[in-house]
Symmetry: C2
Subunit: 398 residues, 2 copies
């Protein structure tokens, strides 16, 4: 007789939520579907020729170490290259403040694991990155969303008065996923001041920071306070996602705890991929390719905006992000994007429902549109189809 899994699942497992993105994507993967759903980088940005060269070199010159077990903290050359770049951006760190993680999703997971007890609260945006919410839920944390930054202090005060002081503030200050909003310096200062006043940690999740098409770079929050900010970085949007390389930058006391947590999670991040990434940075290929990537995504954003302007019916609004990979789209109040998704799929076009990014279940009339992955022709055709689906829904609502 088979064992009854339900009876023996942990409370963590019962509290986990499937990724709406992932399950939607399984529908969106049909070849006839034009998908604006994933956060996929454009494969034309993958530096295949550089990789051919580097991989042969790594195999020839350091195969024995690059294919062996590696240190839990990560490849020392990679950590040094990263440290160099962050120091140049004003961070006061050394490589001892860096641990390489198997994707920045693991960075979020491990940080949650070492700080969260069931029932602990975390303040985050409404909307906020779905993958972070999933990690929080998987340890039974309670994410508490705020719509605007200036609600932060009242929310923290209320939670403290209820005996539910938050463990940290989770922020994506550059090109927030999915809203596209970038925090200005006063907004960053405000959040840091609240964190200081109430003795909180800040998680600064920063996957899109380097994908800026226009406007002025804002300082990293970590550069404004290196004692209570934990910074997450990744190569998934700027180099390639298939290596799953991310990192945490944090005070040494926190890195030390993350190292212990990572030991029992996967021992170390894939060593060969790290060796290749280190060489890619050392050779200066990273910066060279980023210029091309930014140019491409700048164009793709403009093209998506032009298509939206051309095809979208009245009542639909969208963001004009200065960087990142997404438009965030608002439909009229009362509109349900979950229903829209079903109609859109019949039109062979897909997106992610905004509701998935709202920890309180709000945002039903919003959606996230990726502009980095599809080619220009398909983008136009996809927006056409999407606008048709929206019109169908709007007409039905009349």
């Amino acid at each position: 007789m088979a064992i009854n899994i339900q009876n023996i699942l942990s409370s963590n497992a019962k509290n986990m939520r499937r990724s709406a993105i992932r399950d939607l994507l399984s529908v969106a993967n049909r070849p006839e579907v034009i998908s604006f759903a994933g956060g996929f980088p454009n494969p034309s940005t993958f530096p295949i020729e550089n990789l051919k060269e580097i991989m042969q070199e790594v195999l020839t010159n350091q195969g024995h170490s690059a294919l062996q077990y590696g240190p839990t903290e990560g490849d020392i050359n990679l950590r040094r290259e990263l440290a160099k770049r962050y120091i140049a951006k004003g961070l006061k760190i050394t490589e001892k403040n860096i641990i390489i993680t198997t994707s920045s999703q693991q960075a979020i997971d491990l940080t949650t694991k070492i700080f969260i007890n069931p029932g602990d609260t975390i303040v985050c945006g409404l909307p906020s990155y779905l993958g972070a919410l999933q990690a929080f839920w998987s340890y039974q944390a309670v994410p508490v969303g705020i719509k605007r930054d200036d609600e932060l202090e009242d929310t923290v005060k209320r939670l403290i008065s209820e005996g539910r002081k938050p463990k940290f503030i989770y922020a994506i200050p550059d090109f927030q996923n999915p809203s596209g909003v970038t925090m200005d310096i006063p907004a960053r200062e405000y959040v840091i001041n609240i964190a200081r006043k109430y003795d909180l940690l800040i998680l600064e999740d920063s996957p899109y920071r380097e994908l800026r098409f226009e406007g002025e770079e804002q300082p990293m929050m970590y550069s404004m306070d290196n004692e209570r900010v934990v910074l997450f970085g990744t190569f998934s949007k700027t180099f390639l996602p298939g290596f799953r390389i991310g990192w945490i930058i944090a005070p040494e006391a926190i890195i030390d705890r993350i190292v212990v947590a990572k030991q029992s999670t996967d021992l170390c991040t894939p060593v060969f991929d790290q060796a290749v990434a280190a060489k890619y940075l050392e050779k200066g290929y990273f910066e060279k390719n980023m210029l091309k990537t930014i140019e491409l995504y700048h164009h793709k954003r403009d093209h998506m905006l032009a298509c939206f302007k051309k095809y979208m019916p009245e009542g639909v609004t969208w963001t004009n992000p200065q960087g990142g990979l997404f438009l965030f789209v608002k439909l009229p109040e009362g509109f349900d994007c979950r229903e829209l998704f079903d109609v859109a799929i019949k039109e062979n076009v897909a997106f992610v429902i905004g509701e998935a990014f709202h920890c309180d279940g709000s945002g039903k009339n919003t959606m996230r549109i990726n502009f980095s992955y599809m080619d220009d022709e398909k983008t136009e055709e996809g927006v056409k189809r999407l606008s048709r689906a929206i019109r169908t829904m709007l007409d039905k609502g009349k």
Copy 2:
């Protein structure tokens, strides 16, 4: 003011234990030290020429998909290749029973995460694999060790009567780490019968199974019961550890839960490494290289045994394993291998203290010796040094 980390750590983090192996290794990493500590495969077994060929092919023919995000379940070709091999060994599975994990350490971690609540018990060996104990502790499980298989039923009965029914039995049936013991068919049947009688899961951890030098292969426990066994596999000892590719084979209901847990942990296992591994299997390189690897380790085991016989003082006993990577060594009762370690390090030789593998703190007079990594000359010199350190300790004890 810096935040006080201690005050906000989770109970999970407080219950985590550092890897004794890892911390010992940081001493053992000095170049003058001959280390029998790690479970490192011999780098001469890494198929560097095959990898050069395959990596160029993957980059040329499937670069766009192999460098992109991949499915959480893992590369479909890799899962099919693995399924084929397991089916040939008598398992009744399809690729739907397989999820690729970022190392088998992650397999253990995720399985623990979806089943364990704080305080839950797990029955394991005395000794047992340290990395599994670390994963169990990191979710506040309580491992309960048994010295001999036939203690299993009494232990399970006792735990049930105490209201602490174990969530699962953790077993390494082939060349157990560190004891080297392989369970025979009656032993496997006994454990499965107990699991059925008391409705328990069995975790069958199987990293060394294919490294058999002599004697007869025993059936996998999963082939004897595919409803309550969860099987963990890995390429770390048979292909290369630097890719961090492991897998879980389990009933679909369990795989389904593991997929959700993995989504929030690292989304997917490095995609490029999986594509390369799939090709490595498809081309038949795996089987070809395994023959050479087994021959090498067979020789290395014999050489280590010969050195032990030649140099070890009376009162020291050791195993003669038919496979795997380790000898397990017993010193006289009352002997403390932690003290020996300090003496041995002065002699520039290292090992892992057996105590680290005993969840109840016993086994102080034992140690684990790896024979796969060091070259023959250094092995002899290392055993000489180790025997000198042991003699010093024994003389001191007199």
